[in-house]
Symmetry: C2
Subunit: 554 residues, 2 copies
């Protein structure tokens, strides 16, 4: 709280003035001492101005209720939901999460700083505090045809915004260990700020070097052994429980069994769909699961709010105490995390309020592929093909495919800068028949990808995708079956999340009925077909690429 | 660690280069996880560059030894020892304390920023890291004739020094609660930095206001009840165990009994004499006592190092992990805190190295009382006298003293700016006969104070004090019996601590033999006779002052 605010609010603390709101007779979780204390909590102008005996102009009877500080999601991406960030914040805050540490990695890959600014503006004055970790690896790999490049200079241009907290997950571990110049520049710019890690596939002494560079957190641990090895070296571990990646059970079981100090643990979701949030909760689900695995109840709540406030230096949250933001969760039961009401800066989370997208026009016009013509779907070579793998994101290389026929064609088309770059290849194990899918969500550069068994449908879907400024399009037998417009950067929809969900389900069912392999998710799998950092091979705008050999193939 | 250093040291972490020093086979205290793990610890250029399997050019066999991070004294004043700060740092670091959060309140009262700069320069490249909390209440009270005034503007002039951490103990609680302008300015300057408190005598809602203003710590708790009431509100409590104030037993007993989370507790000494440090240790003594009172062993070590690093945002200390400073304590027993060796930034603490005082001349010439003449000892009034109280710092007012005679005269003389201001008064219950004491240590403005039963001895001691540029002088029967020169600001000696100790003891014994009341310490009591913030009355350069009535007396 700054001094001006203190001068304004001081008389409420002294009870010379009556606060607007007072929670009466609550069982307050004092995570800072590990106690539950019966108390009133007075709130004025979004801040807690009294914990003790207080009155309020409006009083809420909290006898029988617990009062906890709002939870923190220590690491998440909004874009993966395809919904507006504002809407995810709403559903998550209904579940008690009032602070979000977001990495707008996808938006930045498409629209650079403007993409980050969209995330900031869409979540301003919403249902929780959204802080931004500056995406550190845009593009994901040198030479990638992303929409933007975030170099040190570009990053500096937005640093003064006080919602920019630190540097986002540093995925390029090699660049850190090898002291690559541009990475060193980024670390230097964020010297005194928190830096998130993504320490996958590096171990022992290389991991130590990565940590010594100042990278503070990691959310990629799937085992207790991995987590404890990092915490021992001073890293914070965000225990992840999202829609796809579920690491909590392994890690928490280890913590409980080994009686580990949890000061350096926090919770995150990374990627969690709104329908999953509505069904099982958000960080509330991490708390509930941890308690069910034997973690001390107050410790679980501390991991959910107090610890991340320390990790990210957010001194105005994480506890119920004077001067903290009035981010408050009222619960009828701590163990089951049975949430009755949530308050963000003293305001109760009620219904979702529709709000116009305040959007720079350019962000609605990021798919530029007019120039793509049907003849570009002709195969230049049939030597090598990509094969998808059941239930996995990695792929396999298939050689000498002449005898195997062409199951599907997949194409990647540069969509950002009219570079007229594309590549068409043969793809196995996707399985679509008499139709095609095209989409503009395609990690990390988010160029257009399309897949189909005939050129007419592929072109149809691509043309429609271009017309609707990006999204997902399913074409069948020469006709558009359905499309989801993701006109905001080709990543995010203007529509409500339930509409998105319905359309996705409809298209997914249709895709399976058209022969798509049921052991893969058609859209998620397709969205990774161009990402040149996951083995074995990928289709990129520069050609068919072998990740393991770091070379292009015929 | 900054990026340049990381690039330099990276090859040592990767074990491509062999570090200069390696602690082999130590039982390492991993306070971040609450574990003790067998490991090597490699050190290069003052930093830990490896915890695991490492070698070193020099190797220290630590089998059978525990290896812990250096301890932190979260709040101390150097000046009270009268020794050079450098020497206290030496003796404390021999006992494992390698980081010091100091408030140079006395130096600042005499010499302002130059006084602070002396503390900084004397402790540069010494035996530990000394950080400064900017004294917040200089002078202690408006109108006081201190040597300097530290207002917001003056503070800003030194803020860029990266050893200036935050704002020093805010003793003027009223100014905070009443939102006095100059205090609000100081809080504003230190908005985003830690601010130490001194919350004595304020409770409940006023305490809450004080905390809401952003004041983060308190070291004045003498009871568990006081401590827990502050921690519940989010304050850090520095558990104090010094030479005079001993609060640890009360607080730790309460913590243990009530199973309180100790995340917000740290240790401090506040004021601890070097002879006490040599005898019982420094922060090591706080750890030992806490364990003996039933605190978990690793928890006590965590309070001593990890917690203060979080409190003050000192990310490069507080744990044994790559990238942290190599501040290392080797112990043969954790419970008794049996310290074998201490390393500060990888260098073993061995013998004390004499070093010239690098001192601005002005700091050696701060006692300017040539102008004071014997006639100024004549009493202007005999209506009211000050009476000292056995074993206490507060005083009593005695009225209509004519019939009681004049036991002693006490005089306070402005010494900083030749203002020719002084006041002579009658003093009871000190008891010196046939002699006088004069000294330049006199809280908080540190003007000259003298006391005696005859004007000749009082003048003698004052003149000698002037000649030696400040210190403590004892005169007996017209002759100087002994003096201790504190020529550095009239507060600090150029001599070694054992010389200071000998001289003080010699003069103290002499004083008692001259009739001084054995229930008071002659020098400490005299040094508080002018401090206009402790009741009941005080002798100030502006006259005899009633603290309770806030008015001057005849």
């Amino acid at each position: 709280m700054n001094v001006e605010k203190y001068i304004e609010l001081k008389d409420y603390v002294l009870a010379r003035k009556t606060a607007d709101l007072c929670f009466k007779d609550a069982s307050v979780l004092l995570l800072q001492t590990g106690e539950i204390v019966k108390s009133d909590v007075a709130v004025q102008d979004g801040y807690i101005v009294g914990v003790g005996k207080y009155n309020g102009k409006k009083e809420i009877d909290c006898s029988g209720l617990f009062l906890a500080p709002g939870f923190v999601d220590s690491h998440l991406h909004f874009e993966s939901t395809m919904s507006r960030p504002r809407e995810l914040v709403y559903y998550a805050s209904k579940c008690g999460t009032t602070t979000f540490i977001a990495d707008p990695h996808e938006a930045a890959n498409v629209s650079g700083i403007k993409g980050i600014e969209y995330i900031l503006s869409d979540t301003e004055d919403s249902y929780g505090d959204v802080y931004i970790m500056m995406p550190s690896c845009v593009p994901a790999k040198k030479g990638e045809d992303s929409g933007a490049i975030l170099d040190g200079k570009t990053m500096k241009s937005i640093l003064k915004n006080d919602r920019i907290l630190g540097l986002g997950e540093v995925m390029d571990c090699r660049a850190v260990v090898d002291c690559e110049k541009s990475m060193m520049e980024k670390l230097s710019i964020f010297q005194s700020r928190p830096k998130d890690g993504h320490a996958l596939g590096i171990k022992e002494k290389e991991l130590s070097a990565y940590i010594m560079s100042g990278i503070l957190t990691d959310h990629e641990c799937s085992s207790y052994e991995d987590a404890i090895s990092k915490v021992r070296q001073g890293m914070y571990i965000h225990i992840r429980e999202g829609s796809a990646a579920k690491n909590l059970t392994n890690i928490v079981e280890g913590i409980v069994k080994n009686k580990i100090d949890t000061s350096l643990f926090t919770f995150c979701t990374d990627d969690k769909h709104i329908e999953d949030i509505m069904q099982e909760g958000h960080i509330s689900n991490n708390i509930r699961k941890s308690i069910s695995l034997g973690m001390d109840i107050l410790e679980a709540y501390k991991i959910a709010s107090y610890n991340p406030s320390v990790c990210y230096g957010l001194n105005d949250i994480g506890a119920i105490a004077v001067g903290k933001k009035a981010n408050i969760v009222l619960l009828s039961d701590l163990e089951s995390v049975d949430i009755k009401e949530v308050y963000y800066k003293g305001k109760k989370i009620e219904d979702y309020e529709e709000r116009e997208n305040e959007l720079e026009e350019a962000l609605n016009d990021t798919v530029n592929i007019d120039w793509f013509t049907k003849d570009m779907l002709n195969l230049k070579s049939k030597k090598t093909a990509i094969s998808l793998v059941d239930g996995e994101l990695f792929t396999k290389k298939i050689q000498r495919v002449d005898g195997l026929g062409i199951e599907n064609k997949a194409v990647v088309i540069e969509r950002h800068h009219n570079k007229m770059k594309y590549h068409t290849s043969i793809c196995f194990n996707f399985g679509i028949k008499n139709g095609a899918i095209a989409m503009s969500v395609s990690h990390d550069s988010h160029n257009v990808v399309a897949i189909g068994d005939n050129d007419d449908d592929i072109m149809k879907s691509i043309e429609e995708l271009n017309r609707i400024h990006g999204g997902i399009v399913l074409s069948s037998k020469g006709k558009i079956f359905e499309s989801l417009s993701l006109s905001i950067m080709g990543l995010i929809s203007n529509q409500r999340s339930y509409v998105i969900k319905e359309k996705i389900e409809k298209m997914k069912n249709k895709a399976y009925s058209m022969g798509v392999n049921k052991n893969i998710d058609p859209f998620i799998t397709l969205s990774f077909i161009a990402l040149p950092v996951i083995p074995e091979i990928r289709i990129t705008t520069n050609g068919l690429y072998s990740v393991l050999e770091d070379s292009f193939l015929d």
